[in-house]
Amino acid sequence: MLSVENLKIEFYDHSLPETAVDDVTFTMGEGEILGIVGESGSGKSLTALSIAGLLNRGDITKSGDIVFNGLNLLHCKRSELRKLQGKDIAMIFQEPMTCLNPVKKIGWQVEEALRVHGEKDKIKLKEEAIKALTDAGLEDAERIYASFPHQLSGGQRQRVMIAAAMISKPKLLIADEPTTALDVTVQAQVIELLRRINREKKTSILFISHDLSLVRQLCQRVLVMKDGKIVEQGEAEDIFANPQEEYTKELIMAIPVVKKPD
């Protein structure tokens, strides 16, 4: 469904180009949860952003191919890319505090993906939004629909983000460190929610995190990135049981020992 080939991202903020992502190649199947782990600066977020088509700064060049259901996202027109954004590919981000527009009601923001892609019927929009909010585990959906972001807690906002992303039933959900800003109990709930979405809606999830233990809980397959390159990839269980690279071993060693839930 998604294949990334020889993706290379370079920055030009100084005279010399700086390579942030180098020769990244991987594929993702339908309904799969793929994890990308690495420390900050490893290029994992840039990879995610470029798949979502959100890396369009003048001082960045991208080369290689990102093919999503037959369309090359790196080389297609902006208008074609926009038809996918929010409809087939949705994204949630690290900071639920700042990712919602502070002056717009939650309902309006949740509905947006549908509205941008042509839905005009207000009653239907509201129905869908309420349903999406409920699906995202928000019990008081009617009230939240009419609220503003500053009235919600961090966990609620991240659920709102997920509801807004899932409202158009995307084929691919990119989750860039979605739990980093949340506290541990909420973190676990959000992970559970993502797992349920994957199971019930068959949505593929690209899960970006620096936290190996989360990746282990959620993902079937894992890519380990360091300094813009993929250093190791494989089934999650294999990598944890038998890491090949020194760097991966270090990452695993760094996890505090937690009993794995069965």
Partner: protein, 318 residues
């Protein structure tokens, strides 16, 4: 919101009280005897005493202040020292002139700077943007009265679109009155337009970098719908506060502009009252201008609250 409004209005009243006290105290500690000034050469000790009594100068300070304050609430600002008429009759007509001039200037600022701010932000780095960076910097540096002289020269003397010094009273010809005030309003407004354009542009560009803008892009918004549906409302909020301050400044620079265009407004009365030491008139005009400014800043705060749900819904500032 109701609580917030109440708080703001209370602040407004308190500020005006404080301003009135400062103004009254400042003009009370002055050396010199208003009664003597009024009587001039006819002053005899008896007449002087009678005049003092009549003018209420023998009352204690707080009593005089209280009387003055209560008088103002009924638009009674006392009697002019120089003219034997009440201050209200002397300046009442002129408030409307300054009100019209400042309102025109405000309309010009909004009408010019909002579209241009958006446009230059959209085409940042383009030719128009670069031209406006230079123009803005230039206009911010030209004092309004100099701009007034330039406008008089170009539109008054060269193109003869208006007669310099040929002020038209609003009782005679309202359209002509407004027409005559357009040039002065432009002179006051242009430097502020330059600032507002720059501020709005900077705000839009800053908001566009924020996380919620990225979220909006991820839903397939185009740059245009992004700008109008998401960014503008956020970017306009600091601009609202700024425009409030700008209006205060424009009222003040109106005093000077009146002289350039020969408009018999509050500024001219203030100047002549200062030169003849006609303190009741000076105090009244200072209070009126201060009240205008404080009221405008309260109104901007309320508009801000109305636009920003963080204040509107929860009722407290960030």
């Amino acid at each position: 919101m109701a609580k917030y409004m109440l708080k703001k209005i209370l602040m407004l009243v308190l500020t005006l009280l404080a301003v009135s006290f400062v103004v009254f105290a400042a003009f009370s500690i002055l050396p010199g005897d208003p009664a003597l000034q009024k009587l001039g050469t006819e002053a005899t000790p008896e007449k002087l005493e009678a005049m003092r009594e009549q003018m209420g100068l023998n009352d204690p300070f707080m009593v005089r202040y209280g009387k003055w304050l209560l008088g103002m609430l009924t638009f009674d600002f006392g009697k002019s020292y120089s003219y034997s008429m009440s201050v209200t009759d002397l300046i009442g007509d002129k408030i409307f002139i300054n009100f019209t001039m400042s309102s025109l200037a405000l309309v010009i600022v909004c009408a010019v700077s909002i579209p241009l701010g958006i446009y230059t932000a959209k085409r940042v780095g383009g030719v128009v943007d670069k031209i406006f960076i230079v123009i803005n910097q230039l206009f911010m540096s030209v004092p309004p009265f100099l701009l007034g002289l330039l406008l008089t020269f170009v539109f008054g003397l060269t193109f003869r679109l208006f007669t310099p010094g040929g002020y038209i009273d609003y009782h005679d010809n309202f359209i002509g009155f407004v027409g005559y005030l357009i040039c002065p309003a432009i002179a006051i407004a242009l430097p502020k337009c330059a600032m507002c354009i720059r501020l709005l542009k900077a705000n839009i560009l800053e908001e566009a970098k924020k996380d919620y803008a990225r979220t909006a892009y991820s839903r397939g918004n185009s740059t245009t719908s992004m700008l109008y549906r998401h960014i503008l409302q956020n970017a306009i909020m600091p601009t609202i506060t700024f425009i409030g301050m700008v209006v205060a400044d424009m009222i003040a620079s109106g005093i000077i502009i009146e002289q350039v265009f020969g408009i018999p407004g509050l500024g001219r009365s203030l100047l002549s009252a200062i030169s003849t030491r006609d303190y009741p008139v000076v105090m009244a005009i200072v209070m009126l201008i201060a009240a205008g400014i404080v009221i405008i800043s309260t109104v901007t705060d309320l508009i801000y609250a109305w636009v920003d749900p963080r204040v509107r819904v929860t009722g407290d500032e960030e």
